[in-house]
């Protein structure tokens, strides 16, 4: 009896083991054969390769070997990095599949003091300590081509997850790619070569920093970037003019007040933008005195109404305030930021096509640049002009131009021989991008990482798409279409959490009231300023009545400020109430109602069934 039971137990155990083995066997085959084939059903196809990446992988001319250095204990030490590693592996295997065998992937575990660790170190893969700080860990990759070229991602940063596919595709394109083109940079604000934007441009182009006094632009410059043209020499104006006459591509960043330069050189004398007459010849003008302010764009949507009053000259544009031309990508950039930008106006030339790219809302105002310099936000808010209107912040110009000069400025000098011949009109069409804000490129405007010694593009955490936009423009100017179209797919994370959405919805329901109050305060401040001016200029005599009138102004202003504060409090309270409502509704009310209804229906059904049974039995 016992023996029979023992045999039965053994056979059951054998069956269990057999089932586990069959399970592992079938799962292994399925994983090996179909493990990499996944349907990405997410709305934004977060986990699929874009067409541009697929083209890059398909058209590889050479064999690319990817070595991933990932420490084995990543899963126990940093589980979130391990999850990311799995995503990376999945993405790479997609590239591998599409490349038709031209990509091979190796994974190495750089254990402490192992050859793999020395290899990772010599390939400059960045190390980081484990949680107990006992040994170094690694999580990076080296991409090598059969030609011997080598590029690397020193560290897979979680914060660059959105750029992962772009980073990989760009490296593959570069390993496979052609000779780098030249981008010339002329700065009138000292040395800016350590800015992150140039690290980014250098990835795909050769960046050449040029002297800002040179009378001609070298012929090998494919695109010229001119930064903050102040105190410009006549030589350079001539150089720029002739560069455009030869069909050169130009990106010009200028503004009435360059905050980054002011931070760097606080005691410099007032600058003058001497390029303005040249721009006028191109049909563009910009006031040197006025800075654009737009309260509707001044802060992120989720920030409080009071903080919107803080800095109206710091503006962030979203899709509604952009008209990105098709050649720069079919989608709008999620967010582009400006700091004390100027207002561009056009006086169109027939031979030039003008495309406005960035603009404010209809409610934008202007403020004197001198007031912005003192960084007193109350003063800025008080000094905003009362003329509301849409302001243009960037233009794309494409066409033929006429020279600003009548002859070569170096005529009759020895310099003339070195310079290219004078042209009075464009030989071929030029592409010019004018952005009315030189802070547009500064790290603090678009990059959360800021300046770090030895930082690479893989350290950048973009908060705005400023750099992406400039790079797309350079790509288009250099006819580097594959890279340009690839870039537009990888934008900064514009995900919004539910609390932000609730705040925006509630804020919108109060927007009319809020705007009325703001307009009231703007008008009152204007009246008050006029009244004070009259008093100061002694146009009206100071009397008890006037003092009372002044008090009345102040009281009304105080009242409106109080109203705005109370409105803000109401918005916050209502947002909180909405959150509580969502929790109560979804946690208690709706489920309990459904449960109650189902309970009643089921009980009724059971009761009727029992009655029915009873009736049958009775019958």
């Amino acid at each position: 009896m016992n023996k029979a039971k023992y045999l039965k137990n053994i056979s059951l155990l054998a069956l269990l083991v057999m089932t586990i083995l069959i399970f592992i066997g079938v799962m292994s085959s399925v994983t090996l054969l179909l493990g990499d084939k996944k349907a990405d059903v997410t709305e934004r196809h977060k986990y699929s390769l874009s067409n541009q990446s697929m083209d890059i992988a398909k058209n590889l001319d050479q064999h690319i070997n990817i070595t991933i250095y990932a420490s084995k204990d990543l899963d126990s030490e940093y589980p979130e990095l391990d999850l990311y590693r799995q995503n990376i592996m999945r993405l790479l295997s997609k590239y591998q599949m599409i490349s038709g065998g031209k990509i091979t992937i190796n994974i190495k575990n750089p254990e402490p003091y192992s050859p793999a660790e020395y290899e990772a170190q010599s390939a400059s893969i960045r190390s980081f300590p484990d949680s107990e700080n006992t040994h170094n860990m690694y999580f990076g990759a080296v991409f090598s081509s059969s030609e011997g070229k080598q590029l690397k991602i020193p560290y897979f940063s979680l914060q660059r997850q959105n750029y992962l596919e772009y980073d990989i595709s760009r490296i593959l394109a570069k390993l496979n790619g052609e000779k780098k083109k030249n981008v010339g940079v002329v700065s009138f604000a000292g040395n800016i070569s350590d800015w992150q934007i140039f690290n980014k441009i250098k990835e795909d182009y050769r960046v050449m920093f040029l002297n800002n006094k040179m009378p001609y632009i070298p012929e090998n410059i494919n695109t010229l970037l001119v930064y903050n043209p102040q105190q410009v020499s006549i030589n350079f104006i001539y150089a720029l003019d002739q560069y455009i006459m030869r069909g050169g591509n130009l990106i010009l960043l200028m503004d009435p007040y360059a905050e980054v330069v002011a931070e760097k050189y606080p005691y410099t004398k007032k600058n003058r933008n001497l390029l303005l007459p040249l721009l006028k010849k191109w049909g563009i003008s910009m006031s040197e005195q006025k800075v654009v302010a737009d309260k509707n764009l001044s802060d992120d949507e989720y920030q409080t109404a009071i903080s919107k009053l803080k800095n109206p000259t710091e503006i962030h544009l979203r899709a509604a305030n952009m008209a990105i031309p098709n050649f720069l990508g079919e989608v709008s950039w999620p967010r582009v930021s400006f700091r004390s930008a100027g207002n561009l106006k056009i006086d169109a030339l027939d031979s030039v096509e003008y495309t406005p790219i960035f603009f404010t809302t209809d409610q934008a105002q202007e403020v004197n640049a001198d007031i912005v310099k003192y960084e007193d936000q109350d003063a800025v808010n008080n000094a905003l002009s009362a003329d509301y209107g849409k302001k243009e912040l960037a233009y794309w110009l494409n066409g033929f131009f006429e020279s600003y000069f009548e002859k070569n400025i170096a005529d009759g000098t020895s310099l003339n021989e070195k310079m290219p011949a004078y042209l009075s009109g464009s030989l071929k069409p030029s592409q010019i991008l004018i952005i009315a804000d030189s802070d547009f490129l500064a790290d603090s405007t678009w990059n959360l990482t800021g300046y770090q010694k030895g930082a690479t593009v893989y350290d950048q955490i973009p908060s705005s798409n400023n750099a992406d936009f400039i790079l797309s423009a350079i790509d288009y100017m250099n006819k580097n279409d594959a890279l340009a179209s690839l870039r537009v797919n990888y934008l900064v994370n514009d995900e919004k959490n539910i609390a932000e959405q609730i705040y925006t919805q509630v804020f919108n329901s109060f927007a009319k009231e809020y705007n009325t109050k703001e307009q009231e305060i703007a008008l009152l401040q204007k009246d008050l300023a006029e009244f004070k001016q009259q008093l100061n200029s002694r146009k009206i005599a100071m009397s008890l009545l006037k003092i009372q009138e002044l008090d009345d102004y102040n009281r009304r202003q105080q009242k409106i400020v109080e109203d705005i504060k109370s409105l803000n409090y109401k918005i916050q309270q209502k947002s909180g109430q909405t959150i509580t409502k969502i929790i109560v509704l979804n946690m208690f009310v709706i489920p309990l109602l459904i449960l109650l209804l189902s309970f009643i229906s089921v009980k009724l059904y059971i009761y009727r069934k029992k009655q029915n049974n009873k009736r049958i039995i009775h019958e």
Binding site: A39, V41, Y47, N586, M587
Partner: protein, 243 residues
């Protein structure tokens, strides 16, 4: 066989809803699930277009709620002495097992249906990635199906529902938490193979793939195979007990 199975499903579901068991499980599920979503999962503070805050806790929640549904499937029959009666009925053993399994799975489906108002709410007032959410619900259904099949199996070995609940709880939590990576590491395989193997055997890895809207044959096969294995072993176990 289909009709016999349907009758068993009806009988089991009916008995669940006739008492308080199903109602308690449903109420506890929705309350805890929403509590985790709103207060632990940070529903309001992260991008939740795919209802990540809701789905990320489901395997753990299923680990302790599904045993409450499956504990009585066989154990109670044995405890009440109705097992012999049931097995002598002119119904195939397979139909009985499938009937019990589907009735438990049906209640899981009711649990998920109870959470759909949140999905509807998200669609009306905010942005929702509906395909991703659908994929998340599909993952929940598969994981609950697996747990139901394994729960049936465990119940068939136990003579008391409480013991069955405890065993199921231990097994399900172990499956949800462990990912066999340490075991695989000790085999000293090449890293590529090691990664593939640990992903292949990890329930969480398959669940997260589906939850994130990345549906693959390997993910579906993992859950389906687990279900089949659980049910097949269940047949063998009941046969064993019968003899």
């Amino acid at each position: 066989m289909g009709r016999q199975m349907f009758n068993i499903v009806k009988k089991e579901t009916y008995s669940c809803f006739e008492g308080v068991q199903a109602w308690v499980v449903l109420s506890v599920y929705i309350f805890i699930s929403m509590f985790l979503t709103f207060f632990i999962g940070g529903f309001f503070s992260i991008d939740n277009t795919g209802l990540f805050s809701f789905f990320c806790f489901q395997p753990y929640l299923m680990s302790f709620l599904v045993p409450a549904l499956t504990m009585r499937l066989w154990a109670e029959e044995r405890k009440n002495g109705t097992l012999e009666f049931l097995l002598t009925q002119p119904i195939s053993l397979f139909s009985i097992i499938m009937g019990k399994f589907f009735s438990a799975w049906f209640i899981c489906l009711c649990m998920f249906l109870l959470s759909t108002p949140l999905w509807i709410y998200l669609n009306i007032y905010f942005e929702a990635d509906n395909m991703s959410i659908l994929s998340g619900y599909f993952a929940c259904l598969l994981i609950s199906g697996c747990f139901c099949a394994l729960g049936c199996l465990i119940s068939s070995f136990c003579s008391s529902p409480a013991v069955s609940y405890l065993w199921s709880l231990i097994v399900f939590f172990s499956i949800s938490v462990s990912d066999f990576s340490e075991l695989i590491k000790s085999l000293h395989l090449p890293l590529t193979l090691e990664n593939k193997l640990s992903n292949m055997l990890s329930l969480n890895s398959h669940y997260y793939d589906l939850m994130n809207g990345q549906i693959g044959w390997d993910n579906i096969m993992f859950f389906v195979l687990l279900m089949i294995a659980g049910l097949w072993l269940n047949v063998a176990a009941v046969e064993y007990k019968k003899n």
